[in-house]
Structure formats: structure tokens, C-alpha cells
């Protein structure tokens, strides 16, 4: 075999699978997004140009913008909370002379080690359930009124955020903990000699040195948070057991348009818009994910 062909030969099988399972569906979605395929036009759908995009972007009550706004809010709130809490915990884990650090780290990893959807269902049934969920049991015990944790918009949004934090914090703590340990201890020693206090050190050593190390993982988390589907879907939007809260993110919104109302053309247009938004975000952040040239 010609030497030049070798790398193509090696990567061919993987690239073919990706072509079939990832690229083709995207192209197909792009194509369907320009048709009127829906429950009435299942086979005889026709080309309608950019009509679906127009409907999503320019019809006020389409629900598109509000879901997008909610998704951005969801992502920003979750990332900020994750970074702050995880940073705080990781710094405390690295306090000099703390015993049982390994044990605490192992215990804190449990939520990460559970399969995500099992945890979500367990939270739905065991924590947030109105009758036998733990939260309402406690409220009852204290003779307070019980709360429907998943049925009104604001409370449901907060419940989902808390669950997402529970699921995502362990990973963030480990990443920041790893980052903290990669910082050369001698910086702190010389800073101490120069009389820098705890916060001064945090500001001038820890944060600047930590940033490049954790940036790729944070960007990755931004993506997974933006694309988080299971939490909102399983907690509030499950087919047949909707809780009444309307906290669609852009993803559950697009999914519902396809699988519940069978409006495929429209749903595909929304999918492509989501794709474009995430693409733009990756282009902005790609300099942080740049591979090291060799």
C-alpha cells in the first residue's frame, strides 16, 4: 500500500460510521427543515424553503425564543454555581493537613458514579415526589405545607438546577482539585514569605494558574449543560406524566415538536438553529481546545 494512503485507510471505518450515524442525520435534518413534513404530510411533504425558520424566529408565540432564553439562563446559572461551589470545595479539600481527604473525595464522587438517568428517576421518585418524596416528608414532619416541587415553573426550574448541581459537581470538583494540585507549591511559599494573605494568593496565584488548566473541561461542561435533556425531560415533560411546569429548554422544545406534535419540518428547523448556535460557540472557544502542535 502506498504510504500516503495509510492514515486514510486507518481512519476510514471510524469516519464511515460517523458519516452514517452523525453526518447523514444532520444533512437529513437540514433537508427536512425546508419541507412541511408533519402529521398531515407524512409522505407527500413538499419543499417550503425557509418558512419553518421564519416561523421559529419571527413568530412571537412560537415558544422558540423563550425556550432559548431559558436554556441560556439555565446554562449560565448552572455553570456559575458549579464553578463557585466546586472551587470552594476543592480549595477546602486542599487545606494543608486535612485528614481523610481521600475518603471525602471518594464519597463525593458517588453522584458522578451513578448512571445519570437512574439518579434523575431516583430524585423524581424519592426526593421531589409530592406524597412520599423526602422533601415533603420533612416538611410534613415540621407541620409545614407540602410543596409541588415539579409543577410550577420557577420551583421546577430550581429543582432541576439543584439536581443538575448534584449530578455535575463531583466532576467539577475533581477537575478543579486536579488543577490545584498541578500548581507548583513553591509559588505559595514565596508568596507567604512576601506576606501575601489567603485571598491575595487566591487572586494572584490560584485563579490565574488554574484557568488554562480547567478551561477545556469548563467548555465541555457548558456544552453538556446547554444540551442537558434528561433532567428536564424526565422530571417534568415525560410523555403521559407531564407535571404542568412549562420549563422547556430549546432541546426538549425541539424534541417535543418532533415526537409529540409530529411537526418534523419545524422541529428540524429548530434543531438546525440549535446546531448553528452551538457551532458558533465552539468556534469562539476552539482556541482553548487547540491541540498542541508538534
Amino acid at each position: 500500500m502506498k504510504k500516503k494512503a495509510i492514515p486514510y485507510f486507518y481512519s476510514m471505518p471510524a469516519l464511515l460510521v460517523i458519516l452514517l450515524i452523525v453526518v447523514m442525520p444532520i444533512l437529513y435534518t437540514l433537508y427536512i427543515s425546508m419541507t412541511n413534513m408533519n402529521i398531515y404530510h407524512w409522505f407527500d411533504f413538499e419543499f417550503v424553503g425557509l418558512q419553518n425558520y421564519g416561523k421559529a424566529l419571527f413568530t412571537i408565540d412560537s415558544g422558540f425564543w423563550i425556550s432559548l432564553l431559558r436554556t441560556v439562563l439555565w446554562t449560565v446559572a448552572n455553570i456559575i454555581a458549579q464553578l463557585v461551589i466546586a472551587f470552594f470545595i476543592a480549595v477546602l479539600l486542599n487545606v494543608k493537613g486535612l485528614k481523610w481527604k481521600g475518603l471525602y473525595k471518594t464519597l463525593l464522587m458517588f453522584p458522578w458514579a451513578m448512571p445519570g438517568y437512574v439518579s434523575i428517576l431516583v430524585w423524581k421518585m424519592g426526593i421531589y415526589n409530592t406524597e412520599y418524596g423526602l422533601l415533603n416528608q420533612w416538611l410534613k414532619k415540621m407541620n409545614w405545607d407540602t410543596v409541588n416541587w415539579l409543577s410550577s415553573d420557577l420551583i421546577a426550574f430550581c429543582s432541576c438546577t439543584i439536581l443538575n448541581l448534584w449530578l455535575a459537581l463531583p466532576f467539577m470538583i475533581m477537575v478543579i482539585d486536579g488543577g490545584l494540585q498541578s500548581i507548583d507549591k513553591s509559588y505559595y511559599e514565596s508568596a507567604t514569605i512576601e506576606g501575601a494573605g489567603f485571598f491575595k494568593k487566591l487572586q494572584t496565584i490560584t485563579i490565574p494558574l488554574l484557568r488554562p488548566v480547567i478551561a477545556p473541561m469548563v467548555i465541555m461542561t457548558v456544552f453538556t449543560t446547554f444540551k442537558q435533556f434528561d433532567i428536564i425531560y424526565l422530571l417534568t415533560q415525560q410523555n403521559g406524566s407531564k407535571t404542568g411546569a412549562d420549563i422547556h429548554t430549546i432541546l426538549t422544545y425541539a424534541y417535543e415538536k418532533a415526537s409529540v406534535t409530529n411537526n418534523y419540518g419545524y422541529s428540524s428547523a429548530v434543531s438546525i438553529i440549535i446546531f448553528i448556535i452551538l457551532l458558533l460557540f465552539s468556534l469562539i472557544s476552539i482556541k482553548d481546545l487547540k491541540e498542541e502542535g508538534r
Binding site: 486514510y8 471510524a14 447523514m24 435534518t29 458514579a113 463531583p170 456544552f223 434543531s271
Partner: protein, 280 residues
């Protein structure tokens, strides 16, 4: 000096109290599930929350294991996971090796395109994938699911493995190359053992993905006998088990335990295997 010691002790105690409460918060959903699953009475309804049930019994576990097609779900999950992991490795290892060791036209372009493709949420490909599977005659079959899972996870595999391969010095290979080793031998005998953390973590993450995936199974497979554990659990909570939290809790722990075990076995590789490529 004494005063300082005293202050140190107080500081450490506060820290320990803090960590114990944080750990408790992290564990309480799991502990509570466990306690409900082994309680003999349905005393979870009378608002007396205790972590240790008054009467212990394994009846719930027995009911889950034998009154449901649990065993066949487990077999299906195992089959799908093993085949998907193997296929993902077979596809992504040579590809990652090519991207790490060879310089060829379109290399950068393809690498970044792969990253970009990841921006498309997999769940929105559902109806397109349905059509592709129908075209290939793979609806309602395990091969179809393995194909979808592999396709979904292979991009992650390529990037993760390539990142790790990049950190393995070329010199190690040169020596073997001089001895006349082929690329295949190089990968099997030199690269794979050195890249073990990354290979393990990649495999485990693929496995956990397959183990937790329910939407494709519920959509593409039409008999509950052919469900996986994830799909089975999903279908249970959506129907009869909604009223039966003790049964559901034991079912969900049974599903979670294998993943928990694997996760903690490979835990020490977890961060290095995931971040070697991206953290410099």
C-alpha cells in the same frame, strides 16, 4: 504556641464538620433509596424518615429480579455494552493513531469537523436515524442499536485517545520500528499498554453511555422483552412502579450497582485518562 495549636484544632474540626455534611448531602438520595429498598414494611409513607428501616427484608429485590424480565434486560444491556465498547475501540483506536502519528492532507480539517459535529445534539437525530435504520433493515434489532451507539461515541473515542497518544513519546516507537514492527504490532504491543488509562476510561464511558441510554431503545425496539435495563427501568417508572417506590428503588439500585463498581475500580484513572489530551 499552644494557642496556635488550639486554633488549628478548631479550624480542622470546622472543616471536618463541613465535609461530613457535604458528603451527607451528596449521599442522602442514594442512602434513602437504599433504605427504602430494604425495608420490609411500607413505612416510608408515615413520614418517619429513618435511614435504618425498622424491619429489613430483601423482598423487593426478589420481586424485581423474578417478577420482571429483569434477567433478560440485564443480558441485553451486557450484550449491547460489550459489543459497543469493542466496536468503538476497533474503530477509534486506528483512527486516533492515524491522527496522532501521521500527517496527511485534511487531518486538521477532519479533526475540527469531528469536534464541530459534536455540537449537534444526538437526540435530535432521532427521526433521521429511524429512517436510516429502516433503510438498512436494522429496526428493532441489536445490531442497529450497536451501530447508533458506536457512531455516537466514536468521535469522543477518537479525540480522547488521540489526546493520550500524543503524550506518548515517539522515541519509544522508533526502537520497535527499527526492529521491523508493523503499525499493527506497534499499536497492540507498545501504544495500547502505554495508553491504558485512556483506553480504560474511554471504554468505561462508552459502557456507561450504553448502560444509561433509554430513548433509542424505547423508540426503536417494540417488545419489552428486548429492552435494556435502562429502557426497562424507564418503562417501569412510567407505568406501574409510579405507585410502588420500594420496588422501583431496588430496581434502580440493581441497575446502578455494576456501574458504581466499575467506576470505583477505575477511579484512579478517571481524571488522568480523561484529561491527558486536553490538559497540558
Amino acid at each position: 504556641m499552644r494557642r496556635k495549636n488550639y486554633r488549628q484544632i478548631v479550624r480542622m474540626s470546622i472543616l471536618h464538620i463541613f465535609f461530613i455534611s457535604i458528603c451527607f448531602l451528596a449521599l442522602i438520595p442514594i442512602l434513602y433509596t437504599f433504605s427504602v429498598s430494604i425495608s420490609a414494611k411500607n413505612d416510608f409513607l408515615n413520614a418517619d424518615f429513618t435511614l435504618i428501616p425498622s424491619e429489613v427484608s430483601l423482598a423487593n429485590y426478589k420481586a424485581v429480579l423474578f417478577d420482571n424480565p429483569f434477567i433478560s434486560w440485564l443480558t441485553n444491556s451486557l450484550l449491547l455494552s460489550v459489543f459497543t465498547v469493542l466496536l468503538s475501540l476497533v474503530f477509534s483506536v486506528p483512527c486516533a493513531y492515524a491522527f496522532s502519528r501521521y500527517r496527511f492532507r485534511g487531518r486538521k480539517g477532519i479533526l475540527y469537523t469531528l469536534l464541530m459535529l459534536n455540537a449537534f445534539p444526538a437526540i435530535l437525530s432521532m427521526s433521521a436515524i429511524y429512517r436510516i435504520l429502516r433503510l438498512l433493515g436494522l429496526l428493532n434489532s441489536f445490531s442497529g442499536l450497536v451501530l447508533i451507539y458506536t457512531g455516537t461515541m466514536v468521535i469522543f473515542g477518537i479525540w480522547n485517545l488521540k489526546g493520550y497518544f500524543d503524550t506518548i513519546p515517539l522515541e519509544i516507537e522508533e526502537a520497535a520500528k527499527i526492529d521491523g514492527a508493523s503499525d499493527f504490532q506497534l499499536v497492540c504491543k507498545v501504544i495500547m499498554p502505554l495508553a491504558k488509562p485512556s483506553v480504560i476510561v474511554t471504554s468505561v464511558l462508552v459502557l456507561i453511555y450504553v448502560w444509561s441510554e433509554y430513548i433509542y431503545v424505547v423508540t426503536f425496539v417494540n417488545s419489552t422483552e428486548k429492552y435494556t435495563l435502562a429502557a426497562g427501568l424507564y418503562s417501569l417508572q412510567a407505568t406501574e412502579y409510579t405507585r410502588n417506590w420500594p420496588l422501583f428503588s431496588s430496581a434502580s439500585l440493581l441497575v446502578a450497582i455494576p456501574v458504581l463498581i466499575i467506576f470505583f475500580v477505575i477511579q484512579r484513572h478517571m481524571v488522568s485518562g480523561l484529561t491527558a489530551g486536553s490538559i497540558k
